[in-house]
Amino acid sequence: MSDTLEGTAHGNGSAYGSQPRKEDARFVRGLGTFVDDLALPGMLHGAVLRSPLAHAKVVSVDASAALAHPKVKAVITGETLAQRGMAWMPTPSHDTQAVLATDKVRFQGQEVAFVVAEDRYAARDALELIDVEYEPLPAVVDARQALSPDAPVVRDDRPGQENNHIFDWESGDAQRVAEVFAEADVVVEQDMLYPRVHPAPLETCGIVADMDPVSERLTVWSTAQAPHTHRSLYAQLTGIPEHRIRVIAKDIGGGFGNKVGVYPGYVCAIVASMITGCPVKWIEDRSENLMSTAFARDYHMRGEIAARADGTILGLRVRVLADHGAFNATAQPSRFPAGFFGVFTGSYDLQAAHCAVTGVYTNKAPGGVAYSCSFRITEAVYLVERMVDLLAGELDMDPAELRMRNLLRPEQFPYDTATGWRYDSGDYPRALAKALELAKYDDLRAEQAARRERGELMGIGLSFFTEAVGAGPRKYMDMFGFGMADGAELRIHPSGTAVVRLSCMSQGQGHETTFAQLVAQELGIGVDAVDVVQGDTDHTPFGVGTYGSRSIAVSGAAVVTVARQVRERARLIAAAMLEVSPDDLEWGDGRWFVRGDEELGYTLAEIARVAHSSFEPPEGVDAHLNAVTVYNPPNLTFPFGAYLCVVDVDPDTGQVKVRRFVAVDDCGVRINPMIVDGQIHRGLADGIGMALMEQIAFDADGNHLGGSFMDYLLPTALECPSWELGQTVTPSPHHPVGAKGIGEAATVGSPAAVVNAVMDALRPYGVRHADMPLTPAAVWRAIQGRPLRSDVAIT
């Protein structure tokens, strides 16, 4: 860490704590290795021809003019792939997706052909030389029309598919809900849309595929959040045995779920390399990224909440219409068609709850689970937190008081929800109290009242969320048929330094640092003495990858487990060295020493040296210090938090300014608090983006209306306030160090706080609800034509 001013911190002998990241030395020098940075000898460049139409028959594809281009080496069409049985690929949700269209195109931007040329400019030029004849078909764009009898059928390729229905899924007890609704004093109902949005990592998706025709080995460098599952899918598709495929992810420029799936461009680049015998690079541009890769959300929701007059919430009923686009390619545990939406009961003690979700096909890009959503918990939290605020409005109760009255109490944990989830641990009232205190809530309400007297629109919005992260257990959860468990492997070198190998893969979360801290803490060695290897299927154990905030919760647990196994083996060797019983040894300060005689003992480095020497280990004990494991989580972990947002709204323009954002997060034990805070900052910015700016929109013909960052707006430093963070720490009882995971918490929790704040600001106008994104135009429209309410002061 020569770049740092203070070096590695080891306060109180702990390897945990805020400390600079190992990966930053290369990033600040511009020396990261992102996939587009690779340049292999003889490398060719690919480009994808995409459909201009949302729905059309493909009558013919004529690539002859493109093939005549002097720099073009090959053109791959759906027919080329069909001859190899690769025109379609499986999705993680028991569906198939066209790699290149053969029969129809089903969304605007769908992949139709793939050109391979000597440079990226020539490849783009040649796209214009391909002649595709389409026969346009009517498109179904609005999910609410997808099930009408006269809707065009998107997936007529599927045997027996006669409409656009994908699945019906429900959770909870409908009858019990009906009973509690009958007893309720008040029922509030609201329709709301969680719009289609996009994770839009700053680096788009890309690949370099290199098929070596002699060794018959395929090496793939790509933006893969899940390298091992990508390898298995490539093996299945190409017929190349798994052991001859190596998937490498070097540095990844943000993922947020966008880089979990396998995209047609990856498959085309692999085929192109097989055909040409050269390495082939394909890097999508931003328009391709926004138009064709995994979108997120697109949930049409109806919520009903029932309560007593005193504010005791009794039950929640939810109906969802889920727009999955043209192929059901949602990257989520395959037995959970609505992801973890089942946690929609949120953080409250409800007597009954029920949700029913219907998934439909439309002529839009596939995806659905992405953008740091923890498998649809974003939608669930938004739903319940909006409903609670609407209920507060109906009861004329303070939304903080209503939440405090209904939050789960610490003594109720572990808590079994009405929809069958077991929350591991929490102290919710403490987190909410802390957020209110940090924000000076009472002062804010007083200020708001004063501003309303002056005709100013100030809003205060709350949200309280419970996340469910760290999937599996593998018994219930799989991706592409692979049980959701993750491996780790640890090797101590003779000098006592270490290498730990992970099955997960960072996209910016700082694994090289945090996971080194985990090992260092268990073994009493320096953080700098631990190298972290990730993102290379030849050099890491199998696992399903980094998404759903799994890394610390699952891979972190695997790493701690192997570190403890190594420590135990070191104990046996130390006992032999000291000629005492292992039971007489105690671990402390990075040493095994004889209980009662601290002088008599060895550090891990001393034991490692002996373990690799000619010293004879005890009977039945392997020499060398190494371990390998697979961690199968017994349950999910349940991070939670209380958020508060303060906005000012310009009544004349509808412009929303986020003035303050207070976030109290509880993600259990924090390994590197600096990194944890950074993860939270990111998610809070997501919340501003989704609530106020971001939407992937289409016109009635299915034309994509946001194909660049000029139309798909992301928050800049000017839209984001300086975040105010607080924390509580409630360890997970089943994670080996009590950590819960933090990657997505703020993305999940923050949109509702922003929207609740804007709705609170518009309360004088009697506005109950407006859908995200709350752009100036949307807010202005919500205000227009609404008389000011007489019971809320504004002049």
């Binding site: 990241r21 943000g254 960052f709």
Partner: protein, 159 residues
Amino acid sequence: MEITVTVNGQQHRRSIEPRVLLAYFLRDELSLTGTHLGCDTSNCGACVVWLDGVPVKSCTVLAAMADGKEVRTVESLAQNGKLDPVQQGFIRCHGAQCGFCTPGMLMTARWLLDRDPNPSEERIREAISGQLCRCTGYENIVRAVRWAAEHERRDEVTS
């Protein structure tokens, strides 16, 4: 066409297609891959470099436009193995996460501090408002620039 561009103090003469973008010229011709492309529409600023001392988005500048000019990229910030204060600030304050926007942010930050050695938080936010970061929520980038400003003025920066 033939162009001569001085990049990070070193003169390069190349024959290029007139349409080649400066970002690709730097990356493909000179192997300076620290400059990244994130959007192609001048919105994200991952590609920010200096052209004759002024930050530009090199994804929308033709390499031909840099003929006879001086370009400075992220690779030039560290001098004689010593990191620039803005680089140190990004490390100290966790201003980088995935590292993709970082080079562009660093180049803008360096430019800002050369003109305003003590910028307010608002000034920093405004300076980077033409650039996007999807990881940091900008908080720690702002802090990193402030850190650099404070340490630069006190001349306390070490390598």
